[in-house]
Subunit: 284 residues, 2 copies
């Protein structure tokens, strides 16, 4: 198992975001005129990748979003209509260079947020891009609106040496993965994990432990991978959310990750943090 | 130090949110008619508290938000204009019963979100409350909008046995606290901690570790308390964000938390997760 990556996709430092520059519109405009400045290429709702999986760049034409610096080069992006879900992006994500992945995630979320937030939620009037593309301001009521980052918990529950995995109806045949759900207002990470496992699988848990996080730009989630101890093994599945949920042994999980012919399930893809959680559980 | 609480305020399970009921408007309307149903009392932009710090309830009059069940009692809330910042709520937070605190946080964020999100960010038309108050839908373009939960990192950096704490200009005299900032799109928790400490204090860090989380309803943050190891002790402070930042020894932190007369700083209030981070660091 030593060749498996243990870091989630989209993790890493990404660009120098140079956020102190964002308030200085004149400085950003001057950077866009710099001969080293460049702009991300897009095609069919996704950033274009080279055959090596690197982001493709073009001369600056619509510097609507200031992304930061790659070394000395100022990097920009236009506001694009973005592919709506992960399925259309999975081929690109499988090719994507891990060093460029954090920027890929950031621009997908940022561009999509702009394309769907042209009006003020407070008063209904049109808003305009400010802060180099990192917020929008309403000229009518002066409200400022920031891109969303929506926390999601995704968790492995363990009981008696076995892991709980579930199937959503839209999954490819045979796939099982970690249960997940949005964190709501007024909840800690730990409370959200306990609530979701109670709602979806009918189990009570203790000792919720954070493992790793991953930006998931469909459209703007931040996935918090967690582990929890289930107090019992009896399941009461919410069939409006899940088609099935089961406990799997360590040998079954190992077989699935290795692609064994008799594996009892297909694991989540490498791009997903659920895969990282399974790999780390096996490696522990 | 054994009498200090190690759990952040607003942590805990709160109500049974009964989220599977939210799609059933008729069921929620029937619950509002139930003789055990009750509605939170508000005054001056905050929920009313009893002298014992418990939330105060009244008969149902405007059941706009369905909060869930307290035992068998259906609990509702009206959409209110909410006090805008933590300062006006600190007296209530000091009195607040810890069991009622998660609900206090949830209703503050939820009510304020509704009062500031009456229009569709996608098309500018008015939206209406749906799902028992847990989202708003636009009749014109059919977009659905959910309450925001904004992840924030708040962190202690450690170097050579000392902790980095900073002062924002608006703090009360003498207070130092943990540095903090919003997580942006395309970032992991760990990347956000590293970026914020680089931007605000000019330090590089490794081994970022999650400690605890806390809802902070001003207006809708989810604070992720973290610890990081600084690679060096030299500071380069961003004076647009911080008035000062310094390294404090264990003895200095202990003195501040105990309220020692010669303590070199005033600690953050008990309601803040920064206080929890300091207490846990001392207890470790």
């Amino acid at each position: 198992m030593t060749d498996l990556p243990l870091e989630p996709l989209f993790a890493g430092p990404g660009l120098d975001r140079a956020d102190t520059l964002r308030a200085d519109a004149a400085a950003i405009a001057a950077l866009a005129e710099n001969h080293t400045a460049r702009q991300l290429e897009w095609c069919d709702g996704l950033p274009v990748l080279s055959p090596e999986g690197k982001l493709a760049w073009a001369p600056v034409s619509r510097p609507e979003l200031f992304l930061g610096f790659d070394g000395d080069c100022p990097c920009f992006c236009s506001v694009e209509a973005v592919a709506p879900d992960a399925r259309s992006a999975f081929p690109a994500m499988a090719l994507l260079d891990s060093g460029d992945a954090p920027l890929f995630a950031a621009v997908l979320s940022l561009a999509r947020w702009h394309s769907r937030h042209g009006y003020c939620a407070n008063c209904g009037q049109p808003t305009e891009i400010v802060r180099g593309g990192w917020s929008r301001r309403c000229g009518a009521c002066d409200a400022e609106h920031y891109p969303r980052v929506d926390p999601v918990v995704i968790m492995l529950a363990e009981h008696d040496g076995r892991l709980l995995l579930g199937r959503q109806p839209q999954y490819p045949p045979g796939r099982y993965s970690a249960l997940a759900g949005f964190v709501e207002v007024g909840e800690t990470l730990e409370a959200a994990v306990a609530r979701e496992l109670g709602e979806e699988a009918g189990i009570n848990v203790r000792n919720v432990r954070y493992v790793a996080s991953q930006p998931w730009p469909f459209p703007s989630s931040l996935m918090f991978g967690c582990h929890a101890e289930a107090l019992g093994g009896e399941l009461r599945i919410d069939t409006t959310e899940l088609e099935d949920a089961r406990w799997f042994t360590r040998a079954e999980v190992a077989g699935a990750l290795c692609g064994a012919r008799d594996a009892p399930f297909q694991p989540p893809p490498r791009a997903a943090i659920a895969r990282t959680l399974l790999e780390r559980w096996l490696a522990a």
